[in-house]
Symmetry: C2
DNA sequence: GCGCAGACATAACCATCGGTTATAGAAGCA
DNA sequence: TGCTTCTATAACCGATGGTTATGTCTGCGC
């Protein structure tokens, strides 16, 4: 028995159609036909009754459909645990992150962790936009530095570390690129460079879909990683919201970053699986993150008065913050 | 993920050796080497450390070894339930049996069941010796008529239906074939026709290994089904213990059945999975079995006085019982 | 020290599996 | 009738899972 077959089966059961399930699974319809046929042959049982309108579960199929999700989950959970045990045995903490991780605090967090946990190594795994949990959801990493909110956030432990305003990234030639600040409503009709559709709420968040007062979004391009994203913007395919820190971490000729008013700020958090709380290394890493937060926050609060006007003048943030 | 791989992995983990596990799994050692390698590659994790002396689990391997048995079981359980749901939906009760099932009571049981459960059909599945649970253990049947004791009996519900003495089946040319009765110790040095080694305690029971006072068993042949068994005995490869009813159900030229003293009797029982108690059809079938038991027992008790001497004269039992 | 035995790894080969594209059938619908 | 939309089938291809034969390393007995 094979979990792939079970996932195929569940997809067909859910969509009620081979053709539809094939689309969801990114395989061809004949492949699904064959695999479902094989599964039925293996079991010696008809799982679906075929009709022109689609595939409908038999009673046996319903029995399997009740069991299969738990099975698939249990398998994946076991594989996660195995990988996790391997990295723990090798004294490696796997940290997933998106784009610039926790910005300037990242170095500090990692340094604090390696101090606190001698003999351990940190493996940083950068994730594409298409995985907003940076591999945490599927157990590829033990802990992650993420942009909030992200899909699946409810089933993980999360602590907010940093908050920063969302700016807009524009083609340097864009008329708004000369402005000191941009009101979000001025961007409503602009084409946007978006994350892949599969990321759902995360994509919507970076399109600020909730803050458009119902105006539809124009998608100019879809990209899955920072370099593609910068390229798309520089090419003029569209604009995009980005954390203010992108101006420092992703400065690039042809791309301008400007403050935006009228959109909520972005949060960076540290996230870890509920079960990971038992792992001393994970706990220690989280503690290092929280210590960095207090440090950064007090720092930022102190700077806030002087920065606020500064930042709005644009341009030299990166020098100031890299001092 | 594939349960075959998990089973392979567990076999290697248990035996601590590829070569040994390959023997157990009836595959070649290179096949196992490749599969274990594939599993490790899929996980991106070393599960074993190789050494001259064999394979020893890494910490990751230990983590997987803890999880895997439950996974494999859960998968098999799900498949069992699916098949069971299919047969229930088709109003078919799958009944496994060994050799002559419940002897003359079988017909009566089935008739009573189909009366009590109108619209239902009974599918009888004869099993080879190599599966003393007649497919019950792996969910191929819903209920089974079995010879007791059998391996795995503890995890099933069992009710004894019939008890009959064990006789011996001999080549017709065997010196003891002329005797009215045989003492078991006279058979100690005879070669025996045995069930496959994989059946363990069941095979031992039919060799009466416990009643040899430590004398080793000589195995003349191993067979897996009634016809082979009869053939082996007729060919003179050995003798074998058999239920008295075999004289009626498996009478054959060249094979003689004689009563044996000094071995415990054989029991026939009805067995069903604990979960099957919830299935009305299974419950009904069991009830029919129990009703047949009381009928048969009273009948036998009444006949006992007249039969006892009769049976010891051998030979015509089959006529008498088929009247 | 030498050869042997035992255990894992590798090579070469073959059938089946899991996928593809192209196409056939059947049934609803304008 | 013809179009669309399902599922099923055919023909093909690379990867998988198995085989046998062989290599390589190591420990052991002499």
């Amino acid at each position: 028995m094979n979990t792939r077959l079970l996932r195929y089966f569940l997809a067909v059961a859910d969509t009620g159609s081979l053709t539809g399930a094939a689309r969801v699974l990114f395989v061809s319809q004949p492949a699904l036909t064959k695999q479902i046929g094989r599964l039925e042959a293996q079991l010696g049982v008809a799982l679906f009754t075929r009709s022109r309108t689609g595939m409908v579960l038999t009673e046996a199929g319903q029995a399997l459909a009740r069991r299969a999700p738990a099975l698939v989950d249990a398998c994946e959970q076991a594989l996660r645990e195995t990988k996790s045990a391997a990295s723990r045995a090798a004294r490696v903490l796997r940290v997933g992150f998106i784009a610039s991780a926790a910005n300037e605090a990242t170095q500090q967090i990692i340094a604090a962790f390696t101090d606190a946990q001698p003999g351990w190594r940190v493996d940083m795994h950068q994730a594409p936009w298409s995985d907003p949990t940076a591999g945490l959801a599927d157990g590829e990493v033990d802990v992650a530095l993420l942009r909030l909110p992200f899909p699946g956030q409810e089933s993980l432990r999360v602590e907010v570390l940093l908050t920063e305003p969302r700016w807009v990234a524009l083609p340097a030639t864009h008329p708004l690129a000369d402005r000191d600040r941009v009101a979000f409503r001025e961007l409503w009709d602009e084409p946007f460079v978006a994350a892949p559709a599969a990321t759902g709420p995360w994509r919507d968040y970076w399109l600020a879909a909730d803050e458009r007062e119902g105006r539809p979004v124009r998608i100019g391009a879809t990209t899955d990683q920072p370099d593609d994203w910068l390229q798309a913007i520089a090419n003029g395919y569209g604009v995009a919201l980005a954390p203010e820190s992108a101006a420092r971490f992703y400065a690039r000729p042809g791309v301008a970053y400007r403050p935006v008013t009228g959109v909520s700020p972005s949060h960076i958090g540290v996230a870890w699986p509920p079960a990971g709380g038992g792992d001393p290394a994970v706990r220690r890493f989280v503690r290092c993150c929280l210590r960095a937060r207090t440090a950064a926050t007090t720092g930022e609060t102190r700077e806030a008065g002087t920065v606020d006007s500064d930042e709005l003048t644009t341009g030299t943030d990166s020098e100031r913050n890299h001092r």
